[in-house]
């Protein structure tokens, strides 16, 4: 009973709280990082250096009026933000934050909520559910700008998902398993993170990840300069916040999956270099968080640097470059795997 229900429940609460808190602070971090890049200070008023800004933002969103446009399809309009947020959050269920041999108050505890043997498949399928929310949200608003944005979003997500899934195939080929824990273990066994064995796959995954989370330079569905706010133009208050939360939660998912698949998850760097023994003191979950944050930082960095792609250019990049490259990568990996074995 305790093993099957209580422990996972506690873990779910911890992970959910951690994710939501991270989302809040990623927003602050984004504003800060962008401000530093742009020679500004960013939020400075709420708390020292603006560290309480996220609380103020959330409070503001809570007390805002919740508007449903008269002509909107009410049920779909209400369901859309939920449909976006829930998949973003449940993807965390299979992400391994730490190794299995963790001890908490003397009790052995595993560093994940669930270790599904098709973990990667689960993440891919859950992540692609979120798009329904965006399409429905844009459509049910009964407004032109959100409609255009949601059309853009669906085209973009579908094209980039193919490329991303193809790169995941190469990882599966290397690891020989679909389990997220198994993939990290495989990296430990082979003594090398997959980012170094599969740099092309990692690159495509990251670019595709930017596109799938609607982040710059692929933030077309919410291009504020063209489409005002994109698919969530008509949303306000907490419903808008759901879209917002989902976007950042998705960023964390993409970063966490990148860490797990390509950067060895909770593994410490350089375990075989003797004078770097002190790296082993740092617990695994801290390595995991550090690596994930590194990716999140790159997300923000890219946003502050690049202009935005145009819709047709984005499609061209996806279909003419990334997908063929990803397929080629799968083929080459397959050949090499067979050749090196034989």
């Amino acid at each position: 009973m305790t093993e099957a229900v209580i422990f996972p429940l506690i873990k779910i609460v911890i992970v959910l709280a951690a994710v939501l808190a991270t989302v809040m602070y990623i927003v602050l971090l984004e504003r800060k990082v962008q401000a530093w890049v742009q020679v500004r200070l960013g939020p400075m008023r709420v708390g020292p250096h603006g560290i309480l800004q996220p609380l103020a933002d959330v409070l503001k969103l809570f007390v805002k009026e919740d508007i449903t446009p008269v002509m909107a399809d009410k049920w779909v309009f209400t369901a859309a933000p939920i449909l976006v947020l829930v998949p973003a959050l449940i993807a965390f269920a299979v992400i391994p934050f730490a190794s299995n041999d963790m001890k908490l108050f003397g009790l052995p505890i595993s560093g994940r909520i669930a270790d599904v043997n098709v973990g990667l498949l689960y993440i891919v399928s859950v992540a692609s559910l979120g798009i329904y929310g965006i399409i429905l949200g844009g459509w049910s608003s009964n407004s032109k700008y959100p409609l255009i944005a949601s059309l853009r979003a669906s085209a973009q997500l579908i094209s980039y998902e193919i490329a991303v899934t193809m790169t995941l195939v190469t990882v599966i080929m290397l690891a020989g398993t679909l389990s997220m824990v198994g993939i990290v273990d495989a990296q430990a066994r082979q003594g090398m993170w997959f980012a170094f064995m599969q740099p092309v796959a990692f690159f495509i995954y990251f670019v595709g990840g930017l596109a799938e989370t609607n982040r710059a330079p692929f933030d077309l569905p919410e291009a504020e300069q063209e489409l005002v706010a994109g698919f969530h133009t008509e949303y306000s208050g907490m419903r808008f916040a759901f879209f917002f939360l989902a976007e950042y939660a998705n960023m964390i998912v993409v970063s966490a999956v990148a860490t797990t698949l390509f950067f060895g998850g909770w593994l410490q760097p350089f375990p075989n270099v003797s004078w770097l023994w002190w790296l082993g003191i740092v617990p695994g979950w801290m390595w995991f968080c550090t690596k994930t944050f590194m990716f999140l930082y790159v997300f923000l960095w890219v946003r502050a640097t690049y202009p935005r792609y145009r819709y047709d250019q984005l499609m061209r990049l996806g279909w003419k470059w990334l997908i063929p490259l990803a397929i080629l990568n799968v083929v080459v990996t397959g050949f090499l795997k067979v050749l090196l074995k034989g």
Binding site: V39, A216, Y311, Q313
Partner: protein
């Protein structure tokens, strides 16, 4: 019945969307009625007049000196050149002699204004295409120009910094040194913008071959300023009909080849350098002497009419002023604003492009609605 069956099976109407007047990237209160086929723009209709304040009529009921400050409010991003155009027109009407020192100060001020205006253009244009950082970099340097203006005339936006017959004040102590210092800083910062944009793949893809306009079309529409020069026409009032102290300055006119958005971007970037070159020459060759010519207290130009144009940052700003020789205000006051004339090209520019290009193209023609609507 025949007509019923002849109808296509699917409803393929074009989507009409309204961009503005409260849209984030129409640079004010421009309203565009876009006819879309998917993401492609089939037609575009610009609706203007949301910022109409009747400036021209207003000027006809103010006396000649008061009008300077009304001209500030037209292109509020380039008030100094608006002032210059007006005071020079009146001086032409009155055949006034302006001291050389005043002419040099005017040249410095209008080139500083050009730098400030182009910085704002660069920032907003880049931000429209999604490169937000350039906006802040541009504003950072613009601030320095505004500081210089503040020191000279006390204002940061609406300067009212020129008078009929000369300048209201001499340069503050050490101002020329600070202007040279600014030129140095600006020259160092230009590569920063170029690093972020000029050879950036995304930027190039977003701007090359977008909104191409040929030299013949550009002349036909009546384009002026950087958009005209980017199409390959070397027309610059500063060179063709020199005013202020431009006849004594040595500078080049950058021209483009293709006339696309990227060319317009390059032309304006080069204009930064040429402006700094002019400022340096003017500051170093600043003559001594009075700053105000011999003007009577009561300005009353003789009966007659005249037209005079200068090169504002956004293009050619011309004033047509008629005086009846009796009253204390102009009989007719008419402005040829560069933004208004350049806006005429928008329809031709956006046809056949995507929505994302529309905002890039509004940015590239560099309009200020205060001037379009007046």
């Amino acid at each position: 019945m025949q007509r019923e069956t002849a109808r296509p099976m699917f409803d393929t109407d074009e989507l009409v969307i309204n961009m503005g007047p409260q849209h984030p990237s129409t640079h004010g209160v421009l309203r565009l009625v876009l006819k879309l086929d998917g993401e492609k723009v089939v037609d575009c209709d610009a609706v203007i007049g949301y910022l109409h304040r009747g400036v021209e009529k207003l000027c006809e009921s103010r006396d000649w000196t008061q009008i300077v400050l009304i001209t500030d409010r037209m292109d509020y991003c380039a008030a100094a050149t608006n002032n210059l155009g007006y005071v020079e027109t009146v001086e032409k009407l009155m055949s006034l002699e302006v001291p050389r020192r005043a002419l040099y100060i005017r040249t410095i001020l209008s080139e500083l204004q050009r730098v400030a205006s182009h910085l704002l253009w660069l920032g907003t244009h880049a931000a429209d295409i999604g490169a937000l950082t350039v906006l802040l970099y541009g504003l950072r340097e613009r601030e320095l120009v505004l500081d210089l203006f503040e020191e000279y005339c006390g204002a940061r936006l609406t300067y009212n910094c020129m008078r009929i017959g000369g300048q209201p004040a001499d340069l503050p102590e050490g101002w020329d040194k600070r202007v040279l210092r600014f030129c140095e800083i600006q020259e160092q910062k230009l590569p920063e913008y170029e690093q972020l944009l000029t050879s950036n793949r995304i930027w190039m893809e977003r701007t090359t071959n977008v909104g191409v306009i040929s030299a013949a079309d550009a002349i036909g529409i009546g384009l002026c300023g950087p958009p005209l020069r980017a199409s390959g026409v070397a027309r610059d009032v500063r060179k063709d009909e020199p005013y202020a102290a431009y006849a004594e300055m040595d500078f080049d006119i950058p021209i483009g080849v293709k006339g696309d958005t990227y060319d317009r971007y390059l032309v304006r970037l080069e204009e930064f350098r040429q402006s700094l070159r002019i400022i340096r020459q003017a500051v170093e060759g600043l003559p001594e002497g009075p700053i105000m010519g011999k003007v009577s207290r009561m300005i009353k130009p003789p009966a007659g009419e005249t037209y005079h144009a200068i090169e504002a940052p956004k293009g050619e700003i011309g004033y047509f002023i008629a005086s009846d020789g009796k009253s204390v205000s102009p009989y007719r006051f008419r402005v040829r604003p560069p933004s208004f004339c350049n806006l005429q090209a928008l329809r031709q520019l956006v046809r056949g492009h995507l929505i994302a290009d529309v905002v890039a193209l509004i940015g590239t023609i560099d309009i200020v609605l205060g001037e379009v609507d007046r």
